[in-house]
Point group: C4
Chain length 263, copies 4
């Protein structure tokens, strides 16, 4: 059984059947749930998630709650699959359904960062290599990836629980450590595992997850050209992020069409 | 409100709602507008643009005007979304619709280059790395990319407005600087942002945008083989461009079929 | 005619028409055969096999038998195409149909490894380069690829039959040598040819074949960043494999949907 | 008008309208023409050709003739678009339709190599870089690409017509020089342009064109791992080619299904 709290979680590795351990409250806006379903499909369509990875949104009526699908592949998520959680990762209405092992990523980031309204965790392919090579910092090299900043933090799980670990964020202690590593950044890389991006809205978080991947592809290709790489300056990352952020809806609308097979 | 002129533009970063500030004139050929819609769809289908990037064509009856979609994802553009602009970037018939922040790319290039009839601006992925590494020139290495020449210019926005910028071409001053950097070339790279290609016809500009990307992929792969790379000679770039240019329609026809889901 | 035994196989290079040379026995569970058909389609859909490559499963009632499609492209396999073989590679019910030249890969691994219930052999593209460069070991760098371990074995066919060979595992002697090279590992690379992955179930073997390819893509990209690469530690490979293994069904279900064109 | 002979060809760069300059003869087998149409579609489906590139087959009743589509994108080719040519590149039945500028590639290879029954010319992306870096030989590193041999020839057009050229094989003189460079090989790279592969049957030529591209992708990835690369030995290229060649039909059947949208 899945229980809330730090260090006390012991879930079967099939995802764990979650009992309800948090009290019900006001229901989230159905539109928010619909958007969360769309976010799941977009992230699959744009290659950020495959059968794994997940996206959450903070509850619109209770900031100490968040919404996240039950344990399943994002592309298959429907509104009925969305579960409400408290910040300890305890489900409100799982009704015995298996939940994601790593919901602690979401809860602890929402706790540490009141400005964050949505979180995307993925293993997107182009970002992963940058978590493996400590001497090569991951940074913004395109205006679309400006939110990454001049040096994205890398989370090393060994620093928290030592060498014998499964690389997953399966309890509150690890979630807290990850949130601390994220700090005020938008993206945190997770060595040997993936990355997590946050946004001040669901659309922004999705936008950032997609363009984190694209920035990684560009930086990776630039790395082979053998000369110094001009990244965005500190000022450019700030200024471009402010301007580009307003374009997230345009991308969202197109990605939704693609996810729905309309383009 | 969007106004014409250099340096006076101050548009909200959501794209800006554009008031009509240029006088109406003769209507453009509907066939030209249809082709511009097709160009938008082809550039999406061939991976040159995603939700961002744009393509314009010079007005067939007024060389001091150009046609460009309103602020939206290229794949969604229809004939009703095409707006007429003057060379200062002032829309003629936007009727309050949001327009692209970066329409100044188009206006200023049309002003500087009477031979140019169409302009494509994109963030196409394989080209971007070459804007980041000053020591590695981008040049033609395939006959299909011969129009690139032996060394494509790279636009560094910091040289114009300093370090605190958003990398975008959001006013006439920046547009003029970009057009100056382009000079007599066909393609100009924009550091940390993307690239812009021009043509003497809409089909040619689209053709060049697609093959700029493919030339970049080939050059990028060649760069890892560890030996000197044989690019096209000055003579080869000129001669091949003259011959290959005549093939643009064959590509256009196939790409249109693909964009329409027929192949 | 295809006969059992080591070294005695002499099959035409079109695949060889196989006579029945092993006695019939109890029929395999039709559900297992259906899953094997699905496995063929998934491996094609996920890019692990193209027209070549094959997947087998151990017979559920006779551990000295296994099931494998007749000689054909995996995506075209139906239940009627599944043939039963003994561990020597002799078909039970081929009825004259051509069988895979390399069925000895499967038979000899099932013989050497009682824990193995399924085998995937492929030429998947990202793994191949690691078989060619002896100085660069292939190892797990992502939690999803943890089963690869800290150094995957590489099979060099020249060590068994000398320089004049066709790189294929076309008889029992070569199959035994390959199984020996695999040892207790999950994945064995085959120089200039491909790789083979095993699992304790069909779903696990498919899961591992897909993530071997993805791990290879990540490692290949990391290799160009120019610094030391942090792979999974010995302890991490063991611990992560135990936890991640339980997630194979989630991936299988999504991949099946994709193979069926539903996502 | 298109005329036969070396050096006398002067075709408009739109492809050239071809007058009939060779006498009609016995009609080719309709099945061969159907296969040639399929070959065009397969090569597009497998990414070997885009709007450019072409495939021909030797006439089954007149070895001094070959069949090739008129000037068009391969994916759009139907049986009605197939034109018969003599070895000088003069069309028999073009009836004024534009023909490929580079049909001399085909004619001169058929003349020089009686064993060749089909020719594929393409700009396939992964092969191109190897034509640009003389210090890095292109060679077989996979059994599926064994026919490439231990060092593929590279055609440098400057050696024939000097520096001011368009990189295309637009007359018999250049076709002869290319055929001479090909020699007894299966694949010849063309610097800055593409490559050409031959086969003893149409299916074999298509098979080789596809796996030339895949071998190039593998070799390119191996090149970044920083160590010596084990290619196929001379004996391995010969032996594997003999065995693998028999598998071309299995690939053809699957690729045809994919080209027809059935998988």
């Amino acid at each position: 059984m899945c229980t809330s709290g730090h260090g006390s979680v012991d879930i079967a590795n099939t995802g764990g059947v979650a009992g309800t351990s948090a009290a019900p409250g006001p229901k989230a806006d159905p539109k928010l749930i619909d958007d969360l379903v769309t976010a799941n499909h977009i992230l699959f369509g744009e290659g950020v998630v495959d059968a794994f990875g997940h996206v959450s949104v903070r509850h619109d009526k209770r900031p100490d709650r968040f919404l996240l699908a039950r344990n399943m592949a994002p592309v298959q998520v429907t509104a009925e699959d969305i579960v409400e959680f408290d910040l300890d990762g305890a489900p409100v209405d799982a009704n015995g359904r298996a939940v994601y092992l790593e919901r602690f990523i979401h809860g602890e980031i929402y706790r540490a960062r009141p400005d964050v309204m949505a979180v995307v965790h993925s293993h997107s392919m182009a970002v992963l290599p940058f978590g493996l090579v400590p001497t090569f910092p991951f940074r913004a090299v395109t205006h679309m990836g400006s939110f990454i900043g001049t040096c994205a933090p890398v989370f090393e799980i060994r620093d928290v629980v030592g060498d014998d670990n499964d690389l997953l964020i399966t309890n509150g202690k690890l979630g807290k450590a990850l949130a601390e590593c994220l700090g005020d950044s938008v993206v945190v890389l997770m060595r040997g595992h993936g990355s997590t991006a946050v946004g001040t809205s669901l659309k922004e978080a999705v936008f950032r997850a997609v363009y984190t991947e694209q920035n990684a592809r560009v930086l990776s290709e630039a790395a082979r050209l053998g000369g110094p790489i001009t990244g965005l300056s500190e000022a450019e990352t700030r200024t471009a992020t402010r301007v580009i952020g307003g374009q997230a809806t345009r991308a969202w609308d197109m990605w939704r069409m693609r996810a729905e097979g309309k383009v």
